[in-house]
């Protein structure tokens, strides 16, 4: 069914919206933190990368499910 392609594409896009909002707000807070407290840049960077990876992991789960919809259709 062609609708499966449509569903998978829309799902992939929705997953990216969520991850984009999450990582965007994470990065803005981290930048603000660094601007207020430049000496904490190392800690903030490490924790930001960890949080970004956790957000990205959820988004990638969504993307994998979308790929599976197309592949196993």
């Amino acid at each position: 069914m062609e609708l499966a392609y449509l569903g998978a594409s829309i799902g992939a896009g929705l997953g990216v919206i969520g991850a984009g909002l999450g990582i965007g707000s994470l990065a803005s807070s981290a930048m603000e933190g660094i601007a207020r407290q430049p000496e904490a840049v190392g800690d903030i960077r490490t924790n930001m990368i960890i949080a970004a990876a956790l957000i990205e992991g959820v988004a990638l789960l969504a993307e994998i499910i979308c790929v599976l919809v197309v592949v196993t259709k």
């Binding site: 190392g42 490490t46 992991g57």
Partner: protein, 270 residues
């Protein structure tokens, strides 16, 4: 890049595992056909064939042994060359990541964490060389790595808190009994979700970059036009550079999260 008669590009075929190695510069169609077949066999009914990704893992392990031994063969106060480069990475991981997360007890887990980091890094980087495959782009490989990380996490918890103490630490102490009915299943799911997320994250990141590069290059064949080529090649080259960065970041993330989970299991009170 292989394209069949319809001008369609076989993107998925380049990502999946195969029973053969691709060989460059061999055009003798009747001898190798551009491929070297690998042995296929079963052990007790389980498919134990040596596949392309298995060979890539062997190459990564061999390279790891060779580079590490040759770099750290001569101990001395002043590092040079390759040792300088590797020491920079190792000292960064130790002083900026592992010790701050795990405390001084992190030194016990340094060998495991550094081996994980460099193995994933080597697999990621080897996959970027033409004619090779990304072993970390295979969900079985990342699942095995995540299982090792899970085993070390549980082992660290049991070693530090005792067998029963470790399972008692699953939920915070002092909860009322009705809450336990909800909390225990949730915490068990959370415990199993960590290695699952590690596995999917590494797999999906490595696959996604390769698919994106192949799709950009495949546009040339799909649109059957020379004029697409400059844009495609530039975009693919940019993605390739991004892939180098992602290769480092994903190895780093896997190591950091493993260190975090081990530390959480070993010292549950903070």
């Amino acid at each position: 890049m292989a394209a069949d008669a319809d001008g369609q590009v076989d993107v998925v075929g380049h990502i999946l595992d195969h029973h053969s190695l691709e060989v460059p510069f061999i055009n003798a169609q009747h001898v190798f056909d551009g491929h070297i077949e690998l042995p296929q066999f079963e052990v007790f009914g389980i498919d134990m064939s040596i596949t392309r990704h298995v060979v890539m893992m062997w190459v990564a392990s061999a390279l790891l042994i060779v580079t590490m031994i040759s770099a750290f063969r001569r101990p001395g106060p002043v590092p040079t060359g390759l040792r300088n480069f590797l020491e920079t990475i190792i000292v960064f991981l130790r002083d900026e990541v592992i010790i701050p997360i795990m405390g001084e007890s992190g030194r016990t887990y340094m060998p495991f964490l550094l081996t994980t980091f460099f193995f994933i890094l080597y697999c990621n980087m080897l996959g970027l060389i033409p004619y090779t495959a990304t072993a970390t782009g295979n969900i079985s490989v990342t699942a095995a790595l995540a299982l090792i990380s899970f085993a070390v996490t549980q082992g660290a918890g049991i070693a530090n808190n005792g067998f029963f103490g470790h399972w008692k630490n699953l939920v915070p102490s002092g909860l009322p009994a009705p809450l336990l009915i909800i909390m225990i299943p949730i915490e068990i799911i959370g415990m199993l979700a960590k290695p699952f997320a590690l596995c999917i994250r590494l797999f999906a990141n490595m696959i996604a970059g390769h698919i994106a590069i192949l799709v950009f290059l495949g546009l040339i064949i799909m649109l059957k036009s020379y004029f697409v080529a400059p844009a495609s090649v530039v975009l693919a080259a940019a993605l390739y550079l991004l892939e180098i960065f992602i290769g480092f970041v994903q190895a780093f993330i896997f190591t950091v999260l493993t260190a975090l989970f081990v530390s959480m299991a070993a010292h549950p009170d903070h």
